[in-house]
């Protein structure tokens, strides 16, 4: 356990000769603040390599870009030019004629020490210029990750926003019939690959959430028939109970600085919100009502907290300062509002809304204005934000015998897609993107 091999992913800007022509302002760009964006036609060529890895990496890049809804990868059978040297300018005419506004070329080679070298270049075909070029070194088993990093670089270059492809999702993997459901914590890449189970027991486990460092997960477990909040170190598998509270603790999340876990504590019929400082072990009570206060979520600057309370009758969203002062109701629409989650950009709060027999996922500004419903149906629940604040993942249970499954949807309400998992899945939580 003590010995661990370091996999270093070294990012190097491949400046060099081709960069001379790069313009300060690229012509190919997507404004993702607009509603229904027309996807940008892009040609992702097979990366040159002496094995299948080149085409496989290109495929992952193209799939990432396509699922974002902002790009339309062009079918390879339409390509005219066959790229033989990724360091030479392509024949732009050959790409313009198939309407590829952007072109991705690359090469995978093996270093003497066994590492992979992955190089790529992104071209603006109509301007006839390279937009960016980078290279990465990594261990061969990390090839999917390199593909996601390249897809993020392309996304950022063209949209001006950070990508979210080199990220992971923790979730509850569910199997078995509804009245005897087994649940385990699981982790996967955001595209549904590399699924691994993190727990293996019959105890109910719920609501896993990433720490800002991506190294820890806080979640709830019914271990020993004592439903409580736990901390799991991904590195070591070490687990610990968070705090020593005289009742059920649930609905945990990290503070943005990773120093605290915020959660609900149930005592008799009431649930209130507490924080525990992970270093000093100090606990602080933030709400004090004869009601259910739960689902706390910090604003990214840590100054405010959104939460859900039924103190006014039905569950509604409230916002308070991080010391518990200034508790203010912000949701006033029809129905009830639950599971507020503050956007990593700070500009919106996503929520689950229950109204008219339907469960919807929506967003509102932190003051409650500008509510928009993104998707609605029999049962949609538990949104989580991609780290760039542009995409939400949630779980959906359709009417009928099956179980919950994961979906993603753009902030604009377009481009809803299922995220396929090996079995039923719920409670997704998206990881941060490390800079």
């Amino acid at each position: 356990m003590m010995k661990r091999s370091f996999i270093r992913l070294v990012l190097a800007l491949a400046g060099m000769a081709m960069m001379f022509a790069a313009p300060a302002q690229a012509r190919v760009e997507i404004n993702i603040n607009k509603g229904n964006v027309e996807p940008l036609p892009i040609a992702v060529t097979d990366f040159l390599s002496n094995n299948e890895l080149g085409p496989q990496i290109s495929q992952v890049i193209a799939a990432d870009l396509q699922r974002s809804g902002l790009f339309a990868p062009i079918n390879k059978s339409a390509f005219i030019e066959k790229i033989s040297d990724p360091n030479r300018s392509p024949r732009f005419e050959d790409w313009k004629v198939i309407n590829a506004q952007a072109l991705v070329t690359g090469r995978i080679t093996r270093e003497g020490d066994g590492r992979l070298r992955a190089e790529f270049r992104l071209w603006d075909t109509f301007a006839g210029q390279q937009m960016t070029g980078q290279q990465f070194f990594t261990q061969p088993e990390n090839w999917r990750r390199v593909a996601h990093i390249i897809a993020d670089a392309i996304y950022k270059q063209i949209t001006g926003e950070n990508g979210y492809f080199d990220t992971r999702v923790v979730f509850v993997s569910e199997s078995g019939p509804k009245n005897a459901r087994q649940r385990q914590l699981a982790i996967m890449d955001q595209d549904g690959f590399n699924v691994r189970m993190l727990t293996n027991s019959k105890d109910i486990v719920l609501t896993p959430r990433f720490s800002p460092s991506r190294q820890e997960i806080t979640y709830m477990s019914f271990e020993g028939n004592q439903p409580r909040v736990y901390l799991l170190q991904l590195e070591t598998g070490q687990r610990e109970v968070v705090g020593n509270f005289p009742g059920m603790t649930f609905s945990p999340r990290f503070s943005p600085d990773g120093q605290k876990v915020i959660m609900s504590l149930q005592q008799e019929g009431n649930s209130n919100i507490y924080t525990m400082d992970l270093r000093s072990r100090t606990t602080t009570r933030l709400t004090s009502t004869q009601a259910i206060d739960t689902s706390p979520s910090y604003a990214p600057d840590g100054a405010r907290i959104a939460f859900e309370s039924d103190r006014g009758g039905r569950p509604q969203i409230y916002v308070m300062n991080s010391d518990g002062s200034g508790q203010t109701r912000v949701s006033f629409g029809d129905g009830s509002y639950s599971t507020p989650v503050w956007s990593p950009r700070g500009d919106l709060i996503a929520f689950t809304k229950q109204s008219g027999g339907k469960f919807s996922i929506g967003v509102m500004k932190p003051d409650g204005s500008g509510e928009r419903i993104l998707t609605s149906g029999f049962h949609n629940e538990g949104p989580t934000w991609a780290p760039n604040g542009r995409v939400l993942m949630f779980f959906r249970q359709n009417a009928g015998a099956g179980g919950p499954q994961l979906y993603s949807i753009d902030l604009t309400g377009y481009n809803e897609q299922q995220v396929k998992t090996p079995s039923y899945a719920s409670d997704p939580a998206w990881s941060p993107l490390l800079e």
């Binding site: 270093r8 990594t138 109910i204 609900s264 649930s271």
Partner: protein, 177 residues
């Protein structure tokens, strides 16, 4: 040429892939299992024999002749009139057989969010416990636990099932023991 090390990210991936880590996680989980009994089903879920056959004072007697569960209206934690009758019988029985410690399990139907329903189930369990205490069952014999919407007994997509799942079950020597 600028170089940016992003080893922290890859470290997570390395470790999560490390078989030793997975093995340890597994070992911890298994150890957890060995230290406790699996959660028993509520007696009412076990498929009971004929009502008359139950030995007085047995858990079967409690489930069949007294009734181990009460039901709630949507989003409500009020003890209904029919539930009061059941709880009155439970209180009498529990006073006649004082050796049983009990756990009151609170449950919610699936028409709510996970976190809220955990709290709602706890509130139902607490209301049930409080009622039993008011009818003379010592509070120190009673524990509560909420399973939220995670343990439905009836599985369908309409009110006929949801109304059976909004429940509080009094379990003799039950889950929390």
């Amino acid at each position: 040429m600028s170089r940016i090390e992003i080893s922290a990210m890859s470290r997570m991936q390395t470790l999560a892939r490390n078989p030793a880590v997975i093995a340890l996680t597994l070992a911890l989980a298994l150890a957890g299992c060995a230290n406790k009994k699996n959660l028993p089903n509520s007696a009412g879920e076990l498929g009971l024999g004929g009502a008359g056959a139950a030995t007085p004072g047995s858990s079967q007697d409690f489930t069949v002749n007294v009734g181990d569960r009460i039901f709630f209206d949507t989003d409500s934690t009020s003890i209904r009139a029919d539930a009061q009758q059941t709880l009155d019988r439970q209180a009498q029985w529990l006073q006649r057989y004082p050796n049983y410690a009990i756990t009151v399990e609170g449950h919610a139907d699936e028409r709510g969010t996970r976190e809220y329903n955990l709290a709602l189930g706890a509130r139902r369990a607490a209301a049930t416990k409080e009622y039993l205490a008011s009818r003379g069952v010592p509070a120190n014999r009673m524990k509560t636990i909420s399973f939220g919407k995670e343990r439905p007994v009836a599985v369908c997509d309409d009110i006929s099932c949801w109304s059976q799942n909004r429940r509080a079950v009094t379990v003799l020597g039950g889950a929390g023991m």
